[in-house]
Symmetry: C2
Subunit: 499 residues, 2 copies
């Protein structure tokens, strides 16, 4: 028999963990958007204490016993409660292996590292960032052992961002992908490129802010539950399914940069806002893995946002916002330019085709870094070499090189592959979605609602209630097949470049 | 002998309380500035849990024993530690009397009330706000009994905002003040008023934002430790002495509104930024009572900010920001207009002379509300009647009437008198400051630094290490004498209106 008190304790524990999560999230959001520059120290003290309190709340024997008790009668549990118990048990087993002082120290370290990274990037000063990065790498290698001591450290970390993913898996995935896209990129390099000068004109930031509001409306983001802020490196943060924030970064001479950041982060937000109410204040309340999350953000960004029907539908409105800059430009020209496939320096601004190569660079570096065959001080050299090798571009400085992304400063090693996996999931979801309704008829009218409703039904509403493999199965209509992604890219870019 | 472990526990406790304070502050700041509109519910759950955890951390027997132990050997303690123990003991005795569930419920209620107030004000709908206001009043009456069951409830609350202050004290203070300022206001009403039309021209908000940055520079606010945000009702929030935020509210057709909000909140920020480093992460880290706090904000706002030397010094710069709006206007005209004494509707925009009458209205209402002789539903009628009686103005709607301030929605009853007391402290501080150096020579050059240095030495650096009476003594150079304030107002306004 399930004790009623045990269920109350379980709910109470999750509510408390939600509250600690909210507190930390509020501090991170503040730090990355509006906080004054030199305030990391005091915030670190608070984050350290809160991490310690959270550790004490969760990683203690009473919680262990509670979970054991509930597991013992799991067949009697409501399926959602059973799932909560399973997820909490997994998290519990992981957290009890991390000593409280290391957990607190790590919370303070990521706070410090984020501050140092912002400054180091601004100053183009990798050696400034290196000492904290070394500490982060050391912590992550140690944590990997706590997560799963039988796996290679990087495999243990990869599993945090997408369940079941390993280096062996990714090596295959990336190799197969490269085989298809590298020849395509080479073929494109022999073709004439569209003139993208109109996209590099001056787009006043104030006007871009209004344009962001419009894009959020197009995505159907409910503004009373989702606002937009500004930051160095765009991200999405969720407090709960009624309170999500996206951020962007405006560049006065690049309309596409913020435009596609807003659509990308908007995709993350749609996911979080679509989680079912019944999961709120439990461990299942947020989106599943980052692999699934990126499948949603990159679906909106690329599959929808960079499609011809979508651009045709919203282009008259874009022109209304920027009549001078886009005078004489057609929707088709705009479409070609935002899909211009050209090896470049910055991942977040890369086109859909060369994008996976940016991921592969990071994957190789992380693999070696966590594996212990690359030292932090050698990252810039390796980064620049791999960019030359994979993308044939020369990296002029670390600011536009290995300091460009915020992920490592936040302690995320193993996150990047999620972008490529998510993109691949997305392509397969599209094919399955197309079987259910005429995707492009709706999108061609600028109506994204049917797409969102479909994704909500297949993915969003489940939050963490289903494992990512189940969600993929659900939305892809079968097992994951990465060739669909390669086919999608080949088809799209062959048409675009008349190959 | 003082046990070393006891001192460590004391420091640890205060660090933890700091962290919970930071978490709640981050959520309040977010809620009042950038959060989406309909997100109060999820935030309330988090705030409720965090309040419960904080209560558990502090209001428990172990802390009681620790404080007893340290009090027993208080003569051996370092003076700052002794002061911490005294302050913590006072807070402890108060908090243990508040049951944890009431404490949590109250945290959730103020969060809800703030949300409801924002919406009710926007809709000019007092009945929408009334039910939560009733709950807040009931809680505050109950809490007053916990604070000090021997005092009348409103006296117990007043003491929270300024130590030792009571209704008897304030009745005298306000009566004496009215006796001096009411005839003055009457005399002014017979005099011609300066033409303030230039101040009501359109001042684009984007330009006002830049102007705020300039004003913060003039005040000497270190922007790497203090940023500015936007909100419905301006406030200042401090995380620690290296991280303070001010907020303002822009009105496109009123330059003075945000200008003096920025200077007022800037005064609060100067105080918090000036607290000594050695007090950080202890219970003494923030500014003392709200009475002292308002003495600083209103000193900068009125005594400095609305002085002729200050305006003369910065007016050329104001004109640079707004050349068209201020074409042909002189510094003297600007000075007269921002000091135009005229009974009005909105407290935060009232001139220095009629301002105390706005406070008296609120004081009368709170006295009756907490005293139990006024019901919430009758507030609008009483408010409007008192505005007519004290200020001879007709209140057109509740939005510009009893819904104008945020204080009650935050659960603050007894706060308002701090503004008047603070103003009075400030006038006496000025007279004392003038003995030490030529205040107006520096201010006349636009240099506020000597004023700030003096205030830091006399008040800011002490944080909560001295009682407010000591701080007043310190900065006023003697016991508090409210006639100095009346004299200051009479002198300033007699000159302004040639009486």
């Amino acid at each position: 028999m399930v004790r009623k008190e045990a269920l109350t304790s379980l709910a109470d524990l999750q509510r408390k963990m939600y509250a600690y999560g909210v507190a930390a999230a509020a501090l991170y959001l503040d730090a990355d958007t509006v906080a004054p520059k030199d305030t990391a120290e005091g915030r670190g003290v608070a984050l350290g204490v809160l991490a310690g309190e959270e550790h004490k709340l969760f990683a203690n024997e009473a919680v262990g016993s509670l979970l054991e008790e509930l597991i013992a009668c799991k067949d009697e549990l409501d399926p959602l409660v059973r799932r909560q118990v399973e997820v909490l048990k997994r998290d519990y087993d992981r957290l009890v292996r991390i000593p409280a002082d290391e957990y607190m120290e790590y919370a303070m370290l990521t706070n410090e590292a984020s501050d140092v990274w912002h400054k180091a990037k601004e100053k183009n000063d990798f050696p400034m960032f290196a000492p904290v990065l070394e500490k982060l790498v050391a912590f992550n290698r140690k944590f990997a052992g706590y997560y799963d001591s039988e796996k290679a450290p990087y495999d243990a970390l990869l599993n945090e961002y997408e369940r079941g993913v390993s280096m062996a898996y990714l090596d295959n995935f990336f190799a197969a992908l490269r085989e298809r896209i590298v020849p395509l990129i080479r073929a494109i390099s022999a073709k004439p490129q569209p003139d993208d000068s109109f996209l590099k004109k001056e787009y006043p930031v104030a006007k871009q802010r209004e344009f962001s509001d419009y894009l959020m409306d197009v995505l159907g983001l409910d503004r009373s539950h989702c606002t937009i802020g500004e930051t160095e490196h765009p991200f999405t943060l969720n407090f709960n399914n009624k309170d999500v924030r996206i951020t962007t970064h405006y560049q006065a001479h690049d309309l596409a940069s913020s435009m596609y950041s807003v659509i990308h982060e908007g995709g993350h937000a749609m996911y979080e806002l679509g989680v079912a109410d019944e999961l709120q204040y439990t461990c299942l309340a947020g989106g599943m893995t980052m692999g699934i999350h990126e499948s949603q953000s990159r679906f909106y960004e690329n599959i929808i946002g960079r499609s011809l029907p979508f651009i045709r539908a919203i282009f008259p409105k874009i022109q209304e916002f920027f009549p001078e800059q886009l005078e004489g430009v057609t929707a088709e020209q705009f479409y070609r330019v935002v899909n211009k496939a050209e090896p470049s320096l910055i991942r977040t601004e890369a086109d859909e085709l060369t994008y996976p190569l940016h991921i592969m660079v990071r994957y190789e570096i992380e693999k070696q870094l966590i594996g212990g065959t690359l030292e932090v001080k050698d990252i810039p050299e390796t980064w620049n070499r791999l960019y030359k090798e994979y993308l044939n571009v020369d990296v002029p400085d670390d600011k536009r090189g290995c300091l460009q992304d915020s992920h490592w400063s936040g302690g995320s090693f193993g996150y990047f592959p999620s972008y490529a996996l998510g993109s691949a999931y997305g392509a397969q979801m599209l094919r399955n979605m197309e079987k259910d309704f005429d995707v492009w008829e709706a999108v061609g009218k600028g109506d994204v609602a049917p797409v969102s409703a479909w994704l909500r039904e297949k993915i969003h509403k489940y939050g963490g209630a289903k494992e990512s493999a189940e969600l993929v199965q659900n939305a892809c209509g079968g097992a994951f097949d990465p060739t669909v992604y390669a086919d999608y890219l080949v088809e799209k870019y062959s048409k675009l470049y008349d190959l």
